[in-house]
């Protein structure tokens, strides 16, 4: 079991963010939502660890539940 990493972990945060937004460019809301769903599934599978995933879902649902 490992913990959800809440420290900065992206080598190039600006580039990541730019790419994420660009990925959605030109899509309708529904298409974007579907893309996000696929992305979540892909990332979840990559992470694998169910404790990490549960912690991530909790945090996403209620960002105030953890403060650092």
């Amino acid at each position: 079991m490992s913990d959800l990493n809440l420290k900065p972990n992206l080598a190039a945060p600006d580039a990541f963010y730019e790419e994420l937004i660009a990925t959605h460019e030109g899509l309708q809301d529904d298409e974007s939502a579907a893309l996000n769903a696929r992305l979540i599934l892909i990332l979840a599978n990559h992470i694998g660890d169910s404790d990490v995933l549960s912690a991530a879902m909790k945090l996403a649902k209620d960002p105030a539940s953890v403060s650092s």
Binding site: A33, A34, A37, L41, I42, N45
Partner: protein
């Protein structure tokens, strides 16, 4: 009035007058089973094989037409094998391993169940439910011929039930009028809408799923479909929000269309309308005959308590699940397997009534697991919100191209027996290095042995399975007999499944083939303690 609610596939136990109907005093029976569906019949068979007199009351005279269940899992076949009626099921049934999953207009992947080898029975067979019930009944007839005290009374409808402290009074209606009998124990196997449950005013709570499914069993005339399971999500031919095609014996295919919640049942069930859906699926040139059709909706629910005094509930009467994952009859058979030996010991006075409470503990645990699994399948097949639908389709879209989402695709999971982890009949788990799959509480996995298969050598009573270990051959602990089965660990399947990293093993195995306790070597005191615990004498 005694009117049939359904027509029969096989007339098996026509009404005949019994002495009880003319008795001046109400006759008391040790066990009365209400309902002669698969679960009631199997209960009677289990008890009758133990020599326990059992009366079965059913308001019809045989097996109803129309196959509800078609998938019977390995554990069910193993239980049936123990009762002597497994082989005809396997012989008649269709074995399948290949499945295809479609989304919209394309196949997204196929799979092979790749069943583990070293088992006598296949992972699954498809068999019409009427055959399944008939094979159980055939075995009852054979056992009765050998003296088993089983009495099945057709057209005997239970009309009222009065529960007393130490017995139950039943009011029965027959074509020749009413009569009463008493029972020390009643096993209610009268199905999902259990009149017994209603007459006793008991709860049955759970979740309703707002969808209906149209089933058509068809006999193909000019078209060959392979022996595979085909499942469509949102098929392009628009015959349903999902569609399942599955092979049964006698060239019959089961087609299952998900048709939505607000449907006009009468309209949908018109043959011309069913044919429209079928033609959309099969193409206009397919020739087929309709064998049976029905619309079903379903719920996932269970009784809070499976035992109420001297009345015990089993099968659909106790719990109901969605058909996805085939956990209805399959879990009911595990109820029977669990209850039979317990009732036998209690009737003999060799175990306290607390053993019957463990039936509730273990099978309610099993029911919860089944409800969880079938609810998950249902939520995947029939997503209930826009977001859930979007995730479901995201899984399917990815599954066409990459492997990982295929494990998330859930069109019904294989029905597996549950392991009674942490429950009160469990004894010591002291086999260091022992495999996880045979931990205490597990159903014993099969394995080849010198002259056949392991499971054929277990059951009936308690077994002491020793692998490369010494132990007495026969034991009797307070009236409960244990016989030893001595094996050695040379077979790789047996070693893998029962030894793991251990050099030797001693397993105490219950009559229902679940592991009660295990150690690396035999110790008399430890065995006696485990046996007491397994019989609720602790």
């Amino acid at each position: 009035m005694l009117q049939d609610r359904y027509s029969l596939a096989f007339k098996l136990y026509p009404y005949a007058r019994r002495a009880d109907q003319d008795a001046t005093e109400v006759v008391r029976h040790p066990v009365v089973v209400i309902g002669g569906g698969p679960i009631g019949l199997a209960t009677a068979l289990d008890l009758g094989r133990q020599g326990k007199p059992v009366v079965v009351l059913d308001d019809h005279e045989g097996v109803g037409q129309g196959s509800r269940a078609i998938c019977f899992a390995k554990r069910t076949l193993e239980i049936a094998q123990r009762y002597g009626c497994g082989q005809p099921m396997v012989d008649k049934g269709v074995v399948w391993n290949l499945g295809k999953v479609f989304f919209d207009d394309r196949k997204i992947y196929d799979f092979n169940l790749l069943p583990e080898d070293g088992h006598r029975n296949p992972a699954f067979i498809n068999l019409q439910q009427p055959y399944f019930e008939k094979f159980i009944h055939d075995q009852i007839v054979a056992e009765v011929a050998q003296g088993a005290p089983i009495d099945i009374r057709g057209k005997n409808r239970v009309e009222a039930i009065t529960s007393q402290d130490d017995h139950v009074v039943l009011d029965i209606l027959t074509p020749e009028g009413p009569y009463q009998i008493e029972a020390d124990w009643v096993v209610a196997c009268d199905g999902a809408s259990s009149p017994t449950r209603a007459m006793l005013g008991l709860d049955f709570e759970g979740r309703v799923f707002e969808d209906s499914f149209l089933i058509a069993d068809i006999k193909m005339k000019n078209n060959e479909f392979p022996t595979e399971r085909w499942f469509w999500f949102e098929p392009y031919f628009k015959a349903g929000a999902s569609t399942l095609l599955h092979k049964q014996p006698d060239d019959v295919w089961r087609v299952d269309f998900q048709i939505g919640w607000d449907v006009d049942r009468k309209e949908e069930l018109k043959e011309e309308n069913i044919r429209k859906r079928l033609d959309a699926l099969l193409g206009n040139d397919a020739e087929y005959e309709m064998v049976w059709s029905s619309i079903y909706t379903f719920q996932c629910r269970r009784m809070k308590e499976f035992r109420h005094g001297r009345v015990i509930f089993a099968g659909d009467a106790a719990h109901q699940v969605s058909p996805f994952g085939a956990r209805g009859a399959n879990s009911g058979m595990q109820d029977v397997d669990n209850l039979g030996w317990k009732l036998g010991l209690v009737l003999d006075g060799n175990a306290p009534e607390a053993l019957i409470d463990s039936y509730h503990e273990e099978r309610a645990f099993g029911a919860d697991e089944n409800i969880l699994n079938s609810t998950r399948s249902t939520d995947f097949i029939t997503p209930k919100s826009k977001t859930s639908h979007m995730f479901r389709n995201a899984v399917l879209e990815l599954a066409e191209h990459v492997e990982f989402p295929r494990s998330i695709v859930n069109s019904g999971r294989l029905s597996l027996p549950c392991t009674y982890d942490g429950l009160s009949l469990n004894g010591a788990d002291k086999l260091e290095g022992g495999p996880n799959r045979t931990r205490v509480g597990s159903p014993c996995p099969d394995a080849p042995v010198a002259d056949g298969f392991l499971l054929d050598k277990l059951g009936g009573g308690f077994t002491l399975l020793t692998i490369d270990a010494d132990a007495p051959n026969e034991l009797d602990v307070d009236g409960v007999a244990v016989s030893r089965l001595a094996l050695n660990g040379t077979d790789k399947h047996l070693a893998e499944r029962y030894l793991g990293a251990a050099k030797s093993a001693v397993y105490l195995i219950r009559p229902d083939q679940h592991v009660a306790a295990r150690w690396s070597t035999y110790d008399q005191t430890a065995l006696e303690a485990a046996l007491k615990t397994a019989c609720a004498k602790g």
